[in-house]
Symmetry: C2
DNA sequence: CTGAAAGCGCTTACAG
DNA sequence: CTGAAAGCGCTTACAG
């Protein structure tokens, strides 16, 4: 922005022979900053307004010769609109904030990936914020993003926080992903977690596994709870007594650690023939515990989980994971944002999962 | 930003009894936008300048009572400085662009993670851009970031591109990570790849593996080439004939795919006792090929690679990976940025790797 | 101790 | 067809 290190030049105004002081970018062409509208206008001998209009595609409001000349100069000096000035004036930007719990999680990275692509295709720029699952950081980012004039928010597995509540109540355009808005209704993209859990149950029953374990975080979210409930309910609906299912959980935030710890609590002598993990990361952790306990996966014990990380086919061939179509999330997220901006209200997009 | 949907209010100017027109945020307190300096100033009965100074910590230039009153109002209306206005005026922001080749790669995600934390600690906000290893996208992002007034750039495994060249030549504050500046000297954070390759050779030799294979991308970067060279040179220096090393490569960008394909070319009957992969992802791909070929890893064939992804201890216990301290990159990157901004010139930070 | 004014780069009614 | 002017929110010499 601006012209740090730029010089000053005098230029004769086309119109009335008056002198005009204009700033010019460094003569060496070495300036980091792009030329401004003023530079282009001066070089073309037209007003800033005219250049602005042409930059914004209003070409019929200028003579063909002017348009041609201005375009040539723009090309010549490599002019690019300054988004900061534009944002300030228009009071909106092409920025969308993406708040994500943890970049280290491949599932999150996949969602970020597809959202970035979809936003870019729609002409927006994604502003990625890693909240580390912390309410205070989430709020810091929300306020910072607002200060940067972002036009919308995508909140992936959000954590409840005062700032989030404030934003939701103020009607900030926000799409929730995986985890629903904790403060009311709202746009949502995700899967049917109860059904995913039920599908895992069916998968076991098809293999005559009727005394499985289910592994989940002790301080679970709605998401993990629904998966567990879907699993257990289906099992019981199909005749498995409730106490035949081993429920194993562990505290903490890291799902790998939770999986490991929870699995360490399973009976070593009587290891279940099937282990349902509510996330891939939990399965990764449980896998190590199984190995350490001398259990052969999947020969002795079938592992099923929910996520379907791409890496599984390479590193975890022993895992049957219900695939969440993270690659398809981005398009739905952007479509919902556009719908909200268009005044069409929120909506829910429940995407189909499948056991690949 | 601004006051979409806000109303207008008349307020009596403290000083001269003149009328002043000020904007106010929506009376319902439901505005998405934060209050502006003007709002605070009007409520406090002082000028915008005074509020601005107090916001920026210049408290000794105002009476204690004024400071107190203004602070109370700021708290009351929840004022937060608008970064867009501030950036435009100051002609700099607290934004740092992070250009990264591929979020899907855990090594990249780890670098992004530690950089984000280090930047945040230093009072900056990271703007993450996924270039998908494409020169055109990298340039799009570079120009877009400049338009947003970012103050610095971090380029992780950058790809050569016209825009990058332009930025480098214009002296943009930029730190290169893993891969050096292709257009001259410049700030750099990474490891000694030749030595890492040599260490892998030593590891094999310590286990009497003298007929290893080395797997690498056909269109390799300087980075992968150095690792291969370091490996082969050390092998030969220690008496292994050059043709005893099987060099296997495959084209493409995806390292898992490259690893798989390259390993498929290894002699099934005479599979090498040691496989050196220039990255973890290549090892993941090669591992599958080995399994499919009936090779038991690590019993029949020892796998060594370079990266040290955190997930390895859970999912790839068969892999001995030289650990790159990605978690420590962030601090070095930020320290270099601060050094550049401070006029201290660039520098190289070669971090120690180790085989855990 | 405090405020009026200029200006960052841009857009947009408005006037000609 | 074109330009002067106002103003987005902020900072900062400058004047008092």
């Amino acid at each position: 922005m601006g012209t740090r290190g730029g010089g000053i030049a005098m230029v004769l105004d086309r119109g009335g022979g008056r002198w005009k002081l204009i700033r010019m970018t460094s003569s060496k062409g070495k300036s980091l900053d792009s030329a401004s509208l003023a530079t282009v206008a001066a070089k073309a001998g037209v007003s800033i307004s005219t250049v602005s209009r042409i930059v914004n595609g209003q070409t019929r409001r200028a003579s063909p010769e002017t348009v041609e000349k201005v375009r040539r100069i723009i090309e010549e000096v490599g002019y690019r609109p300054n988004h900061v000035g534009r944002s300030l004036r228009r009071r909106e930007s092409r920025l969308v904030a993406m708040l994500i719990a943890n970049l280290d999680n491949p599932a999150m990275a996949a969602i970020a990936d597809s959202t970035e692509a979809a936003l870019r295709a729609a002409g927006y720029v994604m502003f990625l914020c890693d909240t580390h699952d912390r309410a205070d950081l989430q709020d810091d980012y929300l306020y910072a993003m607002r200060s940067h004039g972002v036009r919308g928010y995508v909140s992936v597995v959000s954590v409840p926080s005062p700032g989030l509540k404030e934003f939701v109540e103020a009607g900030a355009p926000m799409v929730f992903v995986s985890r629903r808005n904790p403060y009311g209704p709202g746009a949502f993209v995700g899967i049917d977690n109860v059904r995913a859990g039920a599908d895992a149950a069916d998968w076991f029953l098809a293999r005559n596994i009727t005394r499985p374990a289910v592994l989940f975080p002790a301080q679970g979210s709605q998401v993990t709870r629904e998966r567990v409930i879907g699993f257990c309910d289906r099992m019981q609906d199909r005749g498995v007594p409730g106490d035949a299912i081993i429920r194993a959980s562990a505290p903490g935030l890291s799902h790998v650690d939770i999986g490991y710890e929870a699995a360490c609590g399973l009976p070593p002598r009587n290891w279940p023939a099937g282990v349902m993990c509510v996330s891939d990361q939990i399965a990764y952790g449980a896998y190590r515990a199984a190995r350490e306990g001398g259990v052969d996966v999947p020969a002795d014990s079938a592992f099923v989980s929910i996520d379907g990380n791409r890496i599984n086919s390479w590193l975890a061939p022993w895992l049957s994971s219900i695939q969440i179509p993270h690659d398809a999330f981005g398009a739905e997220i952007v479509s919902l944002l556009l719908q909200i901006w268009g005044g069409g209200g929120a909506g829910e997009r429940i995407l189909p999962h499948r056991l690949g």
